[in-house]
């Protein structure tokens, strides 16, 4: 019965986290809609993941397995070789739809490429539950629920924790200071929301303390930051946003290095695993990151997990990082699909992002989400 215990633990963890541990959302538990849910039939759901390449997706599949066992349903997880194999994934989706499933789970590699497939689902009455990545302009009647990290909130959690560490440095700064942000792209909705969530929260916190802020660098993020109130030349704080030409650690690292080597750079945020590892790669030569801002350390904050980022958080190179819960996303995706296949109304299930640092990495509420 260890699995049941784990699940119970997981669910209570989410609830506890929702109330106590740096709440990412403070609404009532959206998982309550699944109380007492049983499957009317032994459904089988095709679950489209973005790939199997990272342990992130392996954790999501594990969550699906847990839910499937509880509900007595089955699923078939499928995904292309890499997250950029958009056409492969679309083919897989079309094949799955052709078989007429009772429901479809979808984490779209590219949100605009799946619109046609979603229209087919709507026409055929196949309920779709999107997980990890929502499809903002999905055709009416196709997507019944989204199970996603609230990325804007998750980004703001990173900003809040970073700001607590650099507050005094910002207050005592003599000239302009720079806060860096590395986003692996400016096209994926989750990265856009996360990057934007960080920027908006940081601006809000800085302005509350009487500082003027400008956002510079990548055009998308500069245009999205409507609350910035100064120009790059005369702002107290500049949030410098960089996006590499390709989503490789190498290019993220080069961008991070260009920002980190500025003398007045005081903090940097890498908004996903690749970007955060790029920041760490840049730091391997520069050695400016640390957890004591007053002593001149540049404060680094990461996102997601993986052994490299976990080690950096553990040894204080990173102040901390925000992790999503792929396990719970997979878990609730199966629950939402089962409810939808039963014919019930389902609403979105936003899952939490948690702040973790060297002090709470081993906590029961955090550790299960820290995949390698």
């Amino acid at each position: 019965m260890t699995i049941k215990k784990l699940i119970a633990l997981g669910i209570s963890a989410t609830m506890v986290a929702g109330m106590a541990v740096t709440p990412v959302f403070a609404e009532e538990d959206p998982a309550a809609q699944f109380d007492g849910l049983t499957a009317n039939e032994a459904y089988e759901f095709p679950m489209m993941v973005k790939s199997f390449q990272s342990t992130y997706w392996q954790a999501a599949v594990k969550g699906m397995e847990m839910a499937a066992e509880e509900l007595g349903v089955t699923f078939k997880a499928q995904g292309p070789n890499s997250e950029s194999d958009i056409a492969d994934q679309v083919n897989m989706i079309n094949t799955a739809i052709a078989a007429g499933p009772v429901g479809l789970g979808l984490a779209a590699c590219d949100t605009s490429s799946v619109l046609e497939a979603l229209q087919t689902c709507a026409d055929k009455g196949i309920p779709v539950v999107t997980f990890d990545t929502g499809v903002a302009d999905a055709p009416e009647g196709s997507v019944v629920a989204e199970v996603c990290t609230d990325n804007a909130q998750a980004g703001s959690v990173a900003a809040e924790n970073m700001y607590a560490a650099i507050k005094d440095v910002v207050a005592n700064a003599e000239g302009q200071v720079i806060i860096g942000e590395i986003n692996q792209d400016a096209t994926a909705l989750n990265i856009q929301q996360r990057g934007g969530g960080f920027i908006n929260k940081m601006i809000e916190l800085l302005q509350a303390d009487g500082k003027t802020v400008a956002v510079a660098g990548n055009e998308f993020y500069v245009n999205a930051a409507t609350t910035a109130d100064a120009t790059e030349a005369d702002a107290d704080v500049v949030i410098q946003v960089a996006v590499p030409a390709q989503t490789t650690v190498e290019l993220c690292s080069t961008e991070a290095q260009a920002i980190l080597s500025k003398e007045n750079c005081i903090a940097i945020f890498g908004s996903n695993q690749t970007a955060a590892e790029g920041v760490l790669a840049a730091n391997s030569n520069l050695n400016v990151l640390g957890s004591d801002a007053a002593a001149g350390d540049v404060i680094g904050v990461g996102f997601d997990a993986g052994s490299i980022i976990k080690a950096a958080v553990q040894d204080g190179t990173f102040l901390g990082a925000v992790t999503q819960s792929p396990l719970m996303m997979g878990y609730y995706a199966i629950y939402a699909l089962t409810a939808a296949a039963n014919g019930a109304e389902v609403s979105d299930v936003p899952t939490a992002g948690y702040w973790y640092d060297a002090t709470n990495m081993e906590d029961e509420t955090i550790a299960p989400n820290l995949y390698d």
């Binding site: 790939s51 199997f52 390449q53 990272s54 342990t55 392996q58 070789n81 890499s82 997250e83 950029s84 194999d85 660098g217 990548n218 055009e219 960089a242 996006v243 590499p244 030409a245 390709q246 490789t248 650690v249 190498e250 290019l251 690292s253 080069t254 961008e255 290095q257 260009a258 080597s261 500025k262 695993q273 690749t274 590892e277 760490l280 790669a281 840049a282 391997s284 030569n285 520069l286 050695n287 993986g306 052994s307 490299i308 080690a311």
Partner: protein, 325 residues
């Protein structure tokens, strides 16, 4: 078969070297952050795998062939090596040898498909590109040991770190090995049977066969040598990439192949030099590293790199035309 060059000034390698110097000067003037030792260190760190791939692919390119599998191959070998270390407790040295061996195996496969079975190089290596990419994505993301972890000694091959943390001194000794390898392969290209036959195959394969050269054998060897260097590149890649991600690597070959063309390998085959490749790669690396320092956004970086490539190939074609008259 090497063409006689009139003077050092008309040698593309010299022109490219001037470009390297000019780019360094421009970036240094425009950004004071660029003028730091750490910037040079990082540039060199990330240049080794590009350069090793480029040295390897210089040989197929001289035969008017190509090897598209170098990027995905390199990542695939690094993943397999990493998972041997992480999941099977394999010593790092064995993992490195496995990388090189896998490179040679895929190189041989490419060579046999192209040299013996006469598949077009583009097609044959496109297939091995897909195969290595697919095999690579069977593995999960694997970090090789970090510098301070057990087995982290292999980082010292490329960068010697004395001391730890902020007081550490770092020396890019990998650059020395690269210079030695470049000189060795330049010698191999110009002064050994293998090198001369490589050029002969690129100039005129039929004539080479008629003159009694075992064209099949040497054509296979060209790809084996390329594979060997890709295997070496995998170890350099593992040393600088925190977590090697499965399914990646496509596109990395373009930096290497681009660098070789900037360095003056004839686009139609039959001429090239490893020294040219060496300077060509550093043009690509300088653009990749320097442009973010002067605040240019990613899309502009790609546009500028593309333009530089066009100019380099145009210079080559114009010179060839001039030579023909």
């Amino acid at each position: 078969m090497t063409k006689k060059r009139k003077s050092v000034l008309s040698d593309q390698r010299f022109i490219v070297l001037l470009v390297v110097i000019a780019l360094t000067a421009i970036f240094s003037v425009m950004s004071k952050e660029f003028r730091q030792y750490n910037t040079l260190l990082s540039l060199l760190d990330f240049s080794y795998y590009d350069l090793l791939m480029a040295i390897g692919v210089t040989f197929p390119l001289i035969t008017a062939g190509v090897d598209l599998s170098i990027g995905t191959g390199m990542v695939c070998y690094a993943l397999i090596g990493g998972s041997l270390i992480r999941n099977y407790g394999c010593p790092v040295i064995i993992a490195m040898l496995v990388c090189v061996l896998l490179g040679v195996v895929i190189g041989t496969l490419n060579g046999v498909l192209i040299g013996v079975m006469n598949l077009p190089p583009f097609l044959a290596t496109l297939c091995s590109c897909m195969i290595t990419r697919g095999i690579g994505s069977l593995f999960s993301a694997t970090p090789w040991p970090g510098l301070t972890q057990e087995g982290g000694w292999f980082h010292s091959i490329y960068k010697l770190t004395i001391g730890s943390g902020r007081s550490a001194d770092r020396y890019p000794i990998g650059f020395l090995w690269m210079v030695l390898l470049v000189l060795l392969m330049e010698f191999v290209l110009n002064h050994t049977k293998f090198g001369r036959y490589t050029i002969a195959i690129g100039s005129n394969k039929e004539a080479a066969a008629l003159s009694g050269i075992n064209v099949k054998f040497y054509h296979v060897m060209v790809y084996v040598v390329c594979g060997l260097f890709v295997g070496l590149a995998a170890t350099a890649y593992a040393a600088v990439t925190p977590t090697v991600q499965p399914g990646t690597g496509a596109g990395l070959e373009m930096d290497a192949i681009g660098g070789v063309f900037v360095g003056g390998v004839a686009a139609s085959g039959g001429y090239g030099s490893v020294l040219g490749t060496f300077v060509g790669i550093y043009v690509i690396m300088l653009l990749k590293t320097g442009l973010p320092y002067i605040g240019l956004q990613a899309n502009w970086q790609q546009i500028i790199t593309g333009i530089v490539l066009i100019v380099a190939v145009l210079i080559d074609i114009l010179k060839e035309k001039k030579g023909a008259h």
